[in-house]
């Protein structure tokens, strides 16, 4: 039994000054967690109880699909992470340290390398596979901006699972099992999630999906359509307009150069076009020039993992901005930074403000990579910089007047953009990544030499999947979803106790009855939180009960003399009176849903 007179908890009436979101504010105020450093938290007794219940649900669903639990160390040597390239690639997010012999170690952000090596150590035949291994373990990531309490921390608990199969069909089956396990896990946690296509990125895997929980406090943006399409913004592909055929292109007005003094931005260029060439716009019905038909050129410096750099020009419709996250995903593992004045000085062929495509004859072949937005298809007509100051090209047709080195998905996705699968307009939604399932393929097995003998005695590289759930973050998301202005409102399966008994007043009979009921409920298998504090006012006790958020509370007080106690439902706020004789049955019925 948890007695509030001795429980290690202190509720706060004031919000902590650094709390941005409700879950952070309330978990601290209700005494579930305390901050110990930036992005590092302590779990107090009530918080730990919720955490363990979340862990247990995650564990049971992993066990249900044949997952086998193991436990790896956080401290890992550099070498395997060096072999897969992650020692470098992880950048400043990796906590690195040295031991007393000055050997390099890291605190593992995930454990692909070590699982791979351990399977290599234990297994050698196709008969040993498939294998599904997982751990629920403490991870470390030196986040640039830890935020929002438990939503983004630098030390956190994660369930990470890894599958090992001899072939792609096996990987597909393992992946599907985890996908179903994730759906069941989040359902049991009471966390609605949308399964979004995720960008497989530099990891080189084939299939990758995120389980995003839609919430305003989420850090991720994803898109959904009414027809069922869902994707991470990084993974959204653009539905291109139809291209024109050669004959249709030939019939378009010819390209011509015009003087455009000072029109070094899309806004200025659009205004100048409307002044100088009114009614000649190609898109709007009234002939107004629109930003959409101005082809915006942006220049980045790409830094490759080996340290080499090169410029990259991206062309996109003038009414779109580049989405930094989509750009990052599109160029990974390289890193793109905006061209600086010095970069422009080093590449005089790029005339800032008047950059245009190659092949106009305006510039010599530059060797510079030039990628266009997928909306730039053959037959689309644009206004673009002519490669010299104060001059632009009009009626510049892609596929006739210029071409590119390929397309890039870097432009922002907007509400109303069409879903790539034709399932209707997209809606942008904020969400929080709760889980990620990912076909890693053979990247890690190849780097670390994990092979088994197949049925024919031939050595084959094992194919892997990785599957993560943020356990710490799940607690925050659950608190975020289940609260009101008075405090937390835990779902029954995750509450730190089944019932919160409040004894009020100074009457010894009240406390005796509360003890009796508490003991009996506990004997029936319920977890009881009992507010037995002798000199605390009923008002404070009720406020604490609301803040702590146990789903059912039982108030034993003045009414006892008249033969009634109150059963309160935290979520609905309803109160009903029952007699002391009925109370145990009534609470059991509430808790067990009878």
């Amino acid at each position: 039994m948890l007695r509030l007179s001795t429980l290690f908890v202190r509720t706060l009436r004031e919000d902590p000054s650094d709390a941005e979101v409700a879950s952070h504010r309330l978990l601290v105020r209700a005494g579930y967690i305390r901050r110990s450093a930036a992005g590092v938290y302590t779990w107090l007794p009530l918080g730990l109880k919720v955490l363990r219940k979340v862990e247990q649900i995650v564990r049971e669903e992993q066990d249900a699909i044949g997952g086998q639990e193991v436990l790896f160390s956080a401290l890992q040597p550099r070498e395997p992470y060096e072999a897969t390239g992650r020692w470098e690639e992880y950048g400043p997010t990796l906590f690195r340290l040295q031991d007393r012999r000055e050997d390099d170690y890291l605190l593992a952000p995930t454990h692909e390398e070590m699982f791979t090596l351990t399977v290599k150590d234990l297994y050698s035949s196709y008969k040993d596979l498939p294998a599904m291994l997982y751990q629920i373990q403490t991870k470390f990531r030196d986040e640039a901006r830890p935020r929002a309490g438990l939503l983004r921390t630098r030390e956190f608990i994660m369930k990470d699972a890894y599958s090992f199969d001899v072939d792609d069909a096996g990987l597909d089956a393992s992946y599907e099992k985890q996908r179903l396990a994730y759906q069941r896990t989040f359902e049991r946690l009471g966390l609605p999630t949308v399964i979004c296509q995720a960008d497989a990125g530099a990891m080189g895997g084939s299939r990758s999906e995120e389980f995003l929980h839609p919430t305003e406090v989420g850090e991720d943006t994803f898109v959904v359509s009414d027809g069922g399409y869902a994707a991470n913004v990084e993974a959204v592909t653009t539905l291109p307009p139809e291209a024109l055929d050669e004959a249709a292109i030939a019939a378009l007005p010819a390209m011509h150069l015009e003087d455009t003094p000072g029109a070094s931005t899309i806004a200025k260029l659009t205004d100048l076009s409307n002044e100088a060439f009114p009614g000649k716009g190609r898109v709007a019905e009234d002939g107004q020039w629109t930003r959409h038909e101005m082809l915006k050129h942006l220049v980045y410096l790409l830094t490759h993992p080996d340290g080499t750099t090169e410029p990259l020009v991206i062309a996109l419709p003038g009414d779109r901005e580049v989405d930094p996250k989509r750009l990052e995903a599109a160029v990974a593992p390289a890193i793109a930074t905006a061209f600086t004045d010095e970069d422009f000085a080093a590449h005089p062929v790029l005339k800032k403000g008047f950059i245009g495509p190659e092949g106009l004859g305006l510039e010599a072949p530059s060797g510079i990579r030039y990628l266009v937005d997928p909306r730039v298809v053959p037959g689309t007509s644009w206004v673009a910089g002519a490669g010299e100051k104060d001059k632009h090209a009009y009626d510049l047709v892609y596929g006739r007047d210029f071409t590119s080195d390929g397309t890039i998905e870097a432009a922002e996705v907007r509400d109303g953009d069409p879903a790539p699968d034709g399932s209707g307009p997209l809606r942008l939604t904020r969400g929080m990544e709760m889980g990620h399932i990912f076909q890693l393929g053979r990247k890690y097995a190849e780097a670390l030499g994990l092979k088994v003998l197949d049925e024919n005695g031939k050595s084959v590289v094992v194919t892997m999947g990785s599957y993560g759930i943020g356990v710490t973050r799940a607690v925050a998301a659950i608190a975020e979803l289940n609260h009101d202005e008075k405090g937390l409102v835990w779902p029954r399966q995750l509450a730190p106790a089944d019932v919160h008994i409040v004894a009020t007043g100074k009457d010894a009979a009240v406390f005796e009855e509360a003890e009796r009921v508490a003991a009996e409920l506990e004997a029936r298998g319920l977890e009881v939180l009992y507010d037995d504090r002798p000199k605390v006012s009923p008002g404070v006790k009720f406020k604490d009960a609301e803040l702590l958020g146990v789903p059912t509370s039982l108030v034993i007080g003045r009414g006892l003399a008249e033969g009634t106690v109150e059963v309160r439902d935290r979520a609905s706020g309803t109160i009903r009176e029952v007699s002391p004789a009925e109370v145990v049955g009534a609470v059991l019925a509430e808790v067990r849903g009878a």
Copy 2:
């Protein structure tokens, strides 16, 4: 059910080359653990099951004394550890690291500081106390010599508890509760322990006891007497001989100087004394000079925590060596290093090989600290260096001819030395530290400002205890204690499964029967490990069963056709035959001890 056909395990017939002790050898060979770096291990599924059972016993006994479980982060900021001095004092054993802002962090070796700060955050009144908090958490220590598998690792799981009381009587009560909880814990783990007085050392606490498990592979030496005295060697106090009174001292032969050419060691001095002054020894009945009466003088350089140094002269009977661990404990927090030739050169008053006490008139008052072994009491008579080359003083009586700045417990403890409490001769024993309970007192609370208001509204510093159990090490100790030449022999309460079912041969009826029995035992609440591997020989299966060490195994094989299966007891090796109809009852009786 754990099926060996899919369980993530691989047994090895060969010992790992780096294994020094049985627990390490067998836990690796049986597939319970794997090494991932020096002193860092991975828990495979069977190992994790044992670990969790040990944890749960530790947890239940902490809960039983009102301990409240919390969970702190491993990553901790430097500042609080700086405030208590441990950032420096911990030396190279502390894993230190920096985050991306170059702020200093550490991986906590224990959490005194953070518990103190959290109690300070939550509590403010004597009414909040006593409080007993604990966690079962991953600790990091950069051990100079990780060894013996799980016995000394650099990342390990520890239960650390801390008590908070308003006064010394409260601390005594909290300490006593933990002491009893530890006795129950180790009893449930099946680990005999001796409660040894430990040196409170630099921590400044008052009472400190270690729970040492006697074992040959232990790293600690402790002493016990038949009368019940037990202490860590660092904590043993010397039973001094009786001192003489002034009159008796005055009656002793007068001190005299003698030439002792070349007698710069105790051995040479003893030989020379026997040659030059035969029959004049004061201790042996036959008048032989003994090493015991030669007063050995050793010189050390003490380095204090603030970096200052000073020489220290220690005088002890010539038949004793200094025990480096006792010396270390005696001078802590200073560090003693043996005087080098340069040090001697810097202190010409100290004549190497002929050093004697001050106050003989042989030396001017030197200001050098001079401590004697507790056996040097008033009225004891010695031969000692006269402070000049090739000269010694004979019949040098302590309390008449020389004195000291105090005593020091630095001499080695020997088998047969008397226990300080008069409980008989001491026996030296090897042991492994399984737990440590410790009255910290007010050191941490003072350094970090943890005070509460007492009954009179006065602010008082809280007094603390700390209580640790090495959970990882307990698994190793249990394995070390419970094995034979064939493998592990788990006690029932800690075994990874209750019963190991072995199906042998190729007969489908055997496997069907094994499945049926496994399912039924599982339905009765037993944890079943089932060797369902179809093409593995009975010999290999039996060997694996012995290596894995489940206490009861059940062999279903050829005998089935004649109506018998075998119930085997791992510890005793006994085999008895039962009929398939009886088998479930028989196994239940074995497991539940009916």
